[in-house]
Symmetry: C2
Subunit: 875 residues, 2 copies
């Protein structure tokens, strides 16, 4: 039979999955002989069982709870509900991963009309006893019975006023008694029944409430943002109450073994004498810093400092501890690895290796790669952020923080930026035409589109903050305003702030802090490189991006999207001439104009990468993306192209597609217009020849064919490439190897990878498209659906942001195995947005990929994640 309940003496820190973080650490501290109030933990399996059973606690579990309670009562020598010697407990949640403040807590459980009298007698402190009862009634009502807390607060304020009490502490015992009397009546009125007097009912209802709180809205959101599966469930800790509010020799506090903001090795924290934990949170009195405890209660401080050191050494990590002093006696209520800023994380990791506390591997494994974002992008000043007013929340599409005036078109944004304004570009969704506007903007906000929408991908490439899919804003681009759900309107020029790391949109300007890379950061990166086996490349289309990525450690370009080179005015005009051309000859003429630009662009990338491999993808997007859609722009372009606007309109109409993502794009363009592939190959090979001629590290270009679904299609395009390339190389008289490979981004390519590998020298998994097709879900249209899917617990994360290792992963595995069977030395990589997501990097490592490729600012994240994956896999 499954055991569902564990005494603290039965567990240890290794049992986090079963006991939750808090429970496991309480057990561990108990085992270390530290002063921990006694208690027991109801396991996470009891929680999942509770949900499986249809939100019922099975009789066997209830029985086990009360048996364990009885044992605990025996140890403590008190009994729940015994008025003469009452056992009072706290009921606290505790999941496998820390989810601070997300779930619920009940304190002082066990009090009722009789027990409160006993407590008063026992402590000789009637006020304390009734204050505790009051607090219990409030918490139980709020957390377990969902009665609005404010109803109690009003009563409390009323009594204080009647009694002429200013502060809570001014209220005497009689006052507290009156409060309790009225509270009990508030409860009766709201629930239609008296406050439960049976402590066992109090206990079971509270346990259920904690289980329920696992699925409250903020917990679900937190889990999604932190990749915590909903299936884990929470444990419940039942623990003897100790009181920091029993007079001047009592107190409560929290402390870190090191400074969580800077990483400095020095106890850091605060405490409040004669108070309970919630008083610290409420912030009515100002707490003292932890050093001051040394003068207030020197012996307790000494004991605490030693305990802290012991815990840090034991856990080999910075600890975040809660403690209570009851009448001069120290109790440890919690310890856990402390959350810290990115900068602190770097420093702590490096210091602990220096101190001999951690090996390099251990230091690396303890870091959260995602945290590096904060080092690489500006963040809001925490103080300024506290005062800010959130107006909406979208998807955290590209990290960083930005404030500025809103503009609703690329043109307006550019104009404003030229006037020296800080601008934010706000669009329903962005298209390649918005690139110039995105470029000058501090940040981008869109109403539609997911984590891998155009706006998100481009913003990440630029290292620019972006909040996408803010679907509750009504954005009126033409009318130049947007409106929040509560009707507030923001016009062109109004200021807002975007947090691309959280997805929150604020009104007004908020002060930001610049990103800065410390020496510790560089040390961590160096260590990561020692361990990782996968290379990290970048997705870059411009020399600027390539240089940034190179600085951040990129070992080549995994994906250059050639179409991004067409967007400057002169180039896009030639490109449009190519699109509207009626004959191959006219197309070739237009392509000839683009050739020098492309070649120049490639030369720049080759030089920036200093001999590292550069993978260039042939033209991918459907041609209609390059043509205007609204009447005025069509008119204008027709004039420039010297054609009738009705003819241009016909062409645009004929290019219209119902499902462009599944349409005429990728290598299908090269099949229908081989001359495009010819021009691009010419540009790539000629650029490589030119750079090689200059000396320096040799360039070996990799040409990548996108959207392949069938071997013959790949072969057709490869033949064009090889013919063109070989002729150029022969003509140049130099020897230059080059490679031709393909994206694996269509399910059929993955399923027939054995065939595909007969022609492809490398596979680069395009997991953006692969995910969309495998799920049958367009990232641009997923916005509204995802919300419902999160709410209904069908999805826990956005599969376009975090690789689905089950379905998409299975396709990747099939393709990897089949590809290697045909071509054992085939080079495998990933160039989808997942390339910079740590859990996806881990998955790629299990498939023994050669490299992952991601946007420039994600390169450090990928380096660290790849090191962690390698260390993990070696074990």
């Amino acid at each position: 039979m499954t055991k569902y309940v564990y005494m603290f003496t039965e567990g240890n820190a290794g049992m986090k999955n079963l006991l939750g973080g808090k429970g496991a650490n309480l057990a561990e501290m108990t085992g270390l002989g530290l002063p921990v109030p006694r208690g027991f933990t109801i396991s996470t399996e009891a929680c999942t069982r509770y949900y499986e059973d249809g939100k019922i606690i099975a009789a066997e579990i209830e029985k086990e709870i009360f048996e364990t309670l009885a044992k605990t009562e025996e140890n403590v020598g008190k009994k729940l509900g015994d008025a003469r010697n009452p056992f009072l407990v706290s009921v606290r949640s505790g999941a496998r991963a820390s989810m601070p403040g997300m779930m619920d807590t009940i304190l002082n459980l066990g009090l009722n009309d009789e027990v409160v009298k006993g407590l008063a007698a026992l402590t000789g402190n009637e006020r304390f006893a009734y204050d505790s009862y009051r607090r219990f009634i409030t918490m139980f009502s709020d957390v377990v019975m969902e009665i609005d807390k404010s109803k109690y607060e009003k009563v409390f304020d009323a009594v204080k006023e009647e009694k002429g009490a200013k502060l809570d502490t001014d209220l005497d015992a009689e006052g507290m008694k009156e409060v309790v009397r009225r509270y009990l009546s508030v409860y009766q009125v709201n629930k239609g029944e008296p406050f439960p007097q049976d402590p066992k009912i109090q206990l079971m209802e509270s346990v259920k409430a904690v289980f329920r709180s696992w699925n409250n809205e903020r917990a679900i959101l937190y889990r999604r943002m932190n990749d915590i599966p909903g299936s884990w469930g929470t444990a419940v800790n039942i623990q003897e109450m100790v009181y920091g509010n029993m007079g001047d020799t009592s107190g409560t506090g929290v402390a870190f073994t090191r400074n969580p903001a800077t990483g400095e090795k020095k106890l850091y924290g605060e405490f409040l004498m004669n108070a309970q934990g919630e008083d610290v949170v409420a912030g009515i009195r100002t707490p003292q810093t932890i050093d001051q405890l040394a003068s207030v209660m020197p012996e307790v401080y000494e004991q605490f400092a030693k305990t802290a050191e012991k815990l840090e050494n034991h856990y080999k990590d910075m600890q975040d501890m809660e403690f209570t002093i009851e009448r001069g006696q120290l109790f440890m209520l919690q310890t856990r690895n402390g959350k810290r800023t990115a900068a602190a994380a770097m420093k702590v990791a490096v210091d602990m290796v220096k101190e001999g506390l951690n090996t390099k591997e251990e230091a690396i494994m303890k870091l959260d790669p995602k945290q590096l974002d904060a080092l690489l992008h500006p963040t809001f000043d925490p103080a300024a952020l506290k005062a800010a007013t959130p107006i909406s929340r979208g998807l955290p599409a590209s990290p960083g923080a930005a404030s500025g005036e809103v503009y609703f078109s690329a043109e307006d944004a550019t104009k404003a930026a030229e006037e020296g304004k800080k601008v934010l570009l706000v669009r329903l969704e962005t298209s390649p035409e918005d690139l110039a506007g995105m470029n000058v903007a501090q940040g981008i906000l869109t109403g539609r589109g997911g984590m891998t929408s155009h706006a998100a991908v481009v913003a990440r490439g630029m290292g620019k903050c972006c909040v996408s899919g803010c679907s509750d804003l009504i954005i009126k681009e033409e009318e130049k305003y947007f409106q929040t759900p509560d009707g507030k309107r923001f016009n062109e020029g109004d200021c807002i702030s975007l947090d691309g790391t959280t997805g929150i949109v604020y009104s007004g300007n908020i002060a930001t802090q610049e990103a800065s890379l410390s020496g510790d950061f560089r040390t961590i990166m160096d260590w990561s490189d020692e361990f990782r086996t996968m290379k990290v490349r970048t997705n870059a289309d411009t020399v600027r991006d390539a240089n940034v990525a190179f600085e951040l450690g990129a070992q080549g370009i995994g994906l250059c999207r050639t179409e991004h080179m067409f967007f400057e005015e002169e180039r896009i005009f030639a490109f449009r001439q190519m699109i509207v051309a009626k004959s191959e000859e006219a197309r070739r003429k237009a392509l000839a104009k683009i050739l020098p630009y492309q070649q120049g662009g490639f030369e720049g990338l080759f030089k920036a990468m200093k001999g590292y491999p550069v993978t260039i993808r042939l033209l991918d997007p459907p041609l209609h993306e390059f043509l205007p859609q609204n009447a005025d722009d069509i008119e204008e372009l027709a004039g420039a192209l010297n054609m009738r606007s009705c003819d241009l309109k016909d062409i645009i109409e004929s290019l219209h597609e119902l499902n462009p993502m599944l349409g005429h794009r990728g290598c299908r363009l090269a099949v229908t217009y081989p001359e495009i592939a010819e021009m691009q190959t010419t540009a790539i090979i000629a650029a490589a020849i030119a750079v090689n001629r200059e000396g320096g590290p040799k360039v070996i270009p990799e040409i990548m064919i996108p959207l392949v679904c069938e071997l013959k299609e790949l072969k057709f395009v490869k033949d064009i490439i090889v013919k063109t390339a070989d002729a150029l190389i022969a003509q140049s008289g130099i020897e230059m190897p080059y490679h031709v490979g393909t994206m694996i981004e269509i399910p059929r390519a993955a399923l027939t990878a054995d065939e595909i590998a007969t022609e492809a020298e490398f596979f680069s998994f395009g997991t953006n498209d692969l995910t969309q097709m495998t799920y049958g879900l367009s990232r641009d249209d997923a916005g509204k659906i995802l919300d419902a899917y999160y709410q209904k617990k069908i999805f826990e994360s956005d599969p376009t942001a975090r690789l689905d290792t089950v379905g998409v992963g299975k396709l990747m595995q099939i393709a990897t195995e089949a590809g290697r069977k045909t071509r054992p030395d085939i080079k495998l990589g990933i160039c989808g947005e997942h390339g910079g997501d740590p859990s996806s990097v881990h998955f790629c490592n299990t498939l023994n990929f050669s490299y992952v490729s991601c946007s420039p600012f994600r390169v450090p994240i990928a380096r660290l994640a790849a090191a962690q994956a390698a260390i993990l896999q070696r074990k």
Copy 2:
């Protein structure tokens, strides 16, 4: 070492793959001791090798050809190029499957300036010799050297005029000599070199030309229309010439052992005395019927009739034979199973079983299921068709033939039909809003969309002819005309004709023949049912379709698209009220109005299917498909809905999707609006209860959840269904089982089928969507791409029409295995358009599916194909 060349004495009829049909049958006839001119066959493997080697005949193959030639010369006692005793040969293509007229033939090879003199001396017929040389030069120039034939025809006409000859036969030997002289000079002028005198060069060039002809445009098109893989290649037959044009005791003819139009058992054919095969084709002289040969040359007729009987008995199938009589001696040049009309095919099959010539299995295996289309749909009168003018060619989206006046909107078409006109609906593409117009039309023509576009699918369901994706027509719906590539304009009311079986569009009216089902057809269907193991269901949404399908043998409904029930005026209005509803309450109110219609519809289907299973799919298409797109219609609807048109416009805009196929549809609708699934479940279950109460065969409804990609999503919707259904059933007091299953139409569902099967009681493979997502290719946008892909030999067939057993098939296999692992008795079926495609039916049989489901008029095809698959698999 591979053997590439086979003497006729070395082969047999079983070697079709290697020798081609013609070669294998020539060898078989040789083996039977029939009078076959001697020769040999160059295998199909030589052809594929030719292409692999880059269009070169390898030296080893050339050597083998000349070695075999030498042996043949020895047998015949003549030598190629020997003027005194010349060996003259024909060079003919012959693929594995018959591709009549698609590839090239060269006759009289071996003639040159010397040999022709020898031939004249040997035959004592100078005119014949030079006529033969003339014919050879023409064919060699045309077929091998690609010199325009008309250049020779002009010369020939000129000589005839000069000589005062009216008919070819009026030209004497001197005239023929003159023709040859001038022909040689035409050749010299056009090729810049003299006509090749070396017969070995003539031979090798001709062999290459036949290999090349395998990939001429018409051959590629024919293969695509007949599902013949391009990888097969063609064989080449080199055979001693015999001459039907050596005087009055010579002749040539073709004959069938039975009447290919009716199936009647009686020699059927024609012959021409003193003529070569091409003269019969040219149609200058009128041939005599084969019976007349009995009086012209009784002994030869006797010999031929016996040979024909022998061949039919030997091949156990109706034979199509070519013969030549050279100076009184009969030679058999070819025999093959004769092509026949659908009606003849049925009669021959049934007769041959009666005659004891075939078993039922053999009879079934010899039928082409696709041919049944012709029995089920009207066809054009062949005589009328000959005179018709084709104006365009689209995709043969739904079989049948129709003539009528063109109309460009559903409204106009309906109005014209009400006035008693025969109308054809012409649209760029159709949407559900066009249903009424499609319903009254004789046929449908669209400019966009593939074999599984909306127009195609609906037309097939209605049994109505449809040509889709006619992309070379410029269709102007608003201006009410369309224009052909050569500028011809067809206005509203002009007449055209559509052949949905070939995809050809003709101008004007063409007389049609009605479909009729013979007793033989019914016999074949009964026999099929004896053998097949898979059930055949139908895709039907209306009682009319269900009745048609039931009559044609459907054993249930595999797919009822519930949304098709919303399109009548009153219903769609309520449905639109549902879509624009701002609250769940308002949505429920609108749904309540739809409920009785849905329930009534389901009751009709249940009754029509008389106890056979009925699978009903929950709402699938995106909601925006139900709302108008143009300003006038929006205005009108807003008025009817009593809302501001700008608000309605906002709603329509908010529903817009970039890739609707990958958007908010299928079970995603049920997740976001559970009340829709509730209403539909209520309608299904209430209908089943009502019909069961009436007595008669019991209804066991099957509810199908579409577009599932993830177990939890399926579970969420299934929970709604089960809760709703169980409550209704409990309330009714009767016992009624029902089943809940899912479509497998998203790759991820196939990849995670083991998980999906924990909740799904059945899988129905939706291969339309599964194919589109597996290929990353939208059927609605594939039109333009497919043409290039056929031309470049990347695709050989449209994967949305013919199941891709490699990629999509692999997913189906993965899903089938995984599904059965979880739930061994899981019911598996297919309800995509592939359900009615014979080769796809075969594939489903290999996966041991329970059933295939297809549109009503494809049911007989599926029954026959399933029987063939079962017989094949049993072997």
